[in-house]
Symmetry: C2
Subunit: 420 residues, 2 copies
């Protein structure tokens, strides 16, 4: 009925079909689905070849990585470590930790792996030294607390950990930093230590998985979707008939896609961390990509921050480079909104925003980053952004109607394989 | 096994049962459940008596409120309004809106209702006036956009609305403000306009409800829980065998409760907005309380901000006082962490934080608020907080062990009916 009205008086409705740019270019959904099937098959076959690991590379610099480990193996590592300390103390030698350095100087971007890893520099942290006695004590205490978590098989947050001994830790930055040290010392991921971050992400679409033993069907999660669990080790049994994963930066775009049930028209899994990616969402994305072998397409704002978010999913953050193997999802395609889309899709001037000085600086810094430089398409887009000094949010597409995103922009992008 | 070890060497484990303060006071779960059943029955019977509405009160000041309305009724209201404008224009009188004032001077706390409402002052917004022509145009445009949403039966965010006509709206504060005006003009809630806020809250526990047609069982949502849908009008069919609703301020405490499946030991529904309450979570809580007739117990930080959050759930925010009837949940009990708990539960000094000057000022301001003053227990607690100049987070309980919250603190609180 709504459509009929519009056709009778096309001039007074800015949302009318005849005015929607590029709608006429859209082919049938089955043609677009064929494109997506090809994309999926190529993603699946490329993941058949065993992914490169650090040890395959024979790098001149030795690097270190942590792995996911079971609770019982973490527990026995802690027990062996403490036992060795006891022997050392009884032999009159005191004890000290060997702590991998997590400083910038000890980080390395490995192009073959397309992520940041940690080199092998370590520091000795002896107990019997005025300058390190406190930090050694904190490290020992954190180890003790992690050991308790292993025994009880429960998860806690970094904040919980801090409050367990405020007197010793003094402030949370200290216990947080030592927690990362402990990950490196034990060679396991922070998730393996059962210390989790607050959950933030949501997922909806063609995915079934188990969360703590409950089977979740993400096509039956209404508009709200399923909150991504904070503890990835209790997530399993992933099944899907999706052709791709759509990674969305923002909540508002996610909502549009969920309400329109975009995943029923083009079978996909839609996921968002609502802004800056959190550890739980990164682990969840990685697990989906690995288990389901699906291509990942990203929909982010056309600004340096959007690209930065994409890079955190793709290559990891410097802060947690020791765990980049588990946290990063390689080969994410930049679907949109890309700087070149602004003119291509005729986004009106008033819906574009001028970049601030800080934006431009961030953009220029990103152009120097290895993970951008290795993709010439990205360099071109980012250069265009910095040159035009214009940015735009995903929401800018609403200027052509609230459903332009789901009805024209995304289908056309998919049809034209317009990702980089 | 863990327990056995502890018993053999009780001295070296700060988490051992013998040291857990007040654990010995705990009665059996069935005794506590009996207490909760009494609480639930009294909540149910008090909601049998029809809740007071503005019209019952015969206030000397006339007040106005908005109601939830169907899309088709919103649509026909808009059409009648525009039709009346057309008549007025044809009669040579131009047109103008009558816009209810939302300023502080037009707000009133009604103790009988225990919430803030809007008085009946209105302003005329004529088109043919230099000072109001722009705002009248914006108002008309927003009405047109809402009309489109009615025709299409879709939901959008305030951000989407803004981007539909950036040139006219200039910045989002303008379209947001006029959107609230439009709610007041049409006498309906913002949800009825199909403009929703981003979702933030999660729910887990003994609740089954439908989200956009999908049935959701919140006992089968693992640890992550179910994201609360942004559009309350697509939520329905609530069923529950819970005895109470546990409203939690923070994510970390929510996670502890979800992982320990606290709702299976004490049947309840656990809900959090992860900080400042958003509209979607407030509407969801209100709907649960109304449909399920359950008591609501709140677990917030012991600081002025925690009490403020409680007040937003309970009495509404000043900004949206025109919609307080739909957004507020009356009779929320303050379970903890209360300022008196700090000494009662022997929270160590180092886990308490000194209040800042701003905290103390906020605390003193709250003491002047009507909604605090009407509850003498709250006044006492808040006075104690301001006097002691100490605050504490829920997480501070972790000092007695990670599960102290779920295993001792909350059960004991429930057993002792220790809420205000």
């Amino acid at each position: 009925m709504a459509d009929k009205r519009k056709r009778r008086r096309p001039a007074d409705d800015s949302d009318s079909d005849s005015e929607l740019p590029f709608k006429s270019k859209l082919k049938s959904d089955s043609a677009i689905l064929q494109t997506l099937k090809t994309l999926k098959d190529s993603a699946a076959s490329s993941s058949e070849t065993k992914p490169l690991t650090l040890s395959d590379l024979n790098l001149s610099t030795a690097c270190r990585e942590v792995t996911d480990r079971s609770l019982s193996s973490v527990q026995s590592s802690i027990e062996s470590l403490i036992l060795s300390f006891a022997h050392s103390i009884l032999a009159g030698n005191g004890f000290s930790f060997s702590v991998p350095s997590r400083s910038a100087a000890n980080q390395l971007y490995v192009p073959e792996l397309d992520r940041i890893v940690l080199k092998d520099k370590s520091a000795v942290r002896p107990f019997a030294n005025v300058s390190t006695v406190r930090k050694t004590t904190v490290t020992t205490r954190i180890l003790q607390l992690i050991h308790q978590l292993c025994l009880k098989s429960i998860h806690v947050t970094k904040r919980d950990l801090f409050y367990t001994d405020v007197k010793l830790f003094q402030d949370q930055t200290q216990s947080d930093a030592v927690l990362d040290d402990v990950s490196c010392i034990l060679g396991c991921t922070r998730s393996s230590l059962n210390v989790v971050a607050a959950e933030k992400g949501v997922v909806v679409g063609r995915l079934i998985f188990s969360d703590n033993g409950d089977m979740i069907d993400c096509t039956k999660m209404g508009m709200g979707g399923k909150a991504i669990p904070p503890n990835i080790d209790r997530v399993g049994d992933m099944q899907s008939d999706a052709l791709f994963i759509l990674l969305v930066e923002k909540d508002a775009a996610y909502m549009r896609l969920a309400e329109d049930r975009f995943y029923n028209r083009f079978p996909c899994i839609i996921v968002t961390a609502k802004g800056q990616p959190d550890v739980a969402t990164r682990l969840f994305l990685k697990k989906m990509k690995t288990e389901l072998k699906l291509p990942v397409l990203a929909l982010v704002d056309s600004d340096p921050y959007g690209l930065k978010i994409l890079s955190v999913y793709g290559c990891g953050s410097k802060n947690m480079s020791y765990d980049s193997a588990n946290l990063t999802t390689p080969d994410i395609k930049w679907l949109g909104i890309r700087p070149s889309d602004l003119d291509k899709y005729k986004i009106p001037e008033q819906c574009r925003l001028p970049m601030t000085e800080q934006d431009i600086k961030t953009g220029k810094d990103l152009l120097e980053e290895d993970f951008v430089k290795k993709n010439s398409g990205w360099v071109e887009e980012l250069s265009l952004m910095v040159k035009s000094k214009q940015k735009a949010e995903i929401q800018a597409l609403s200027t052509f109607g609230f459903q332009y995103l789901t009805e024209v922009y995304l289908p056309l992008k998919l049809q034209q394989k317009d990702w980089l």
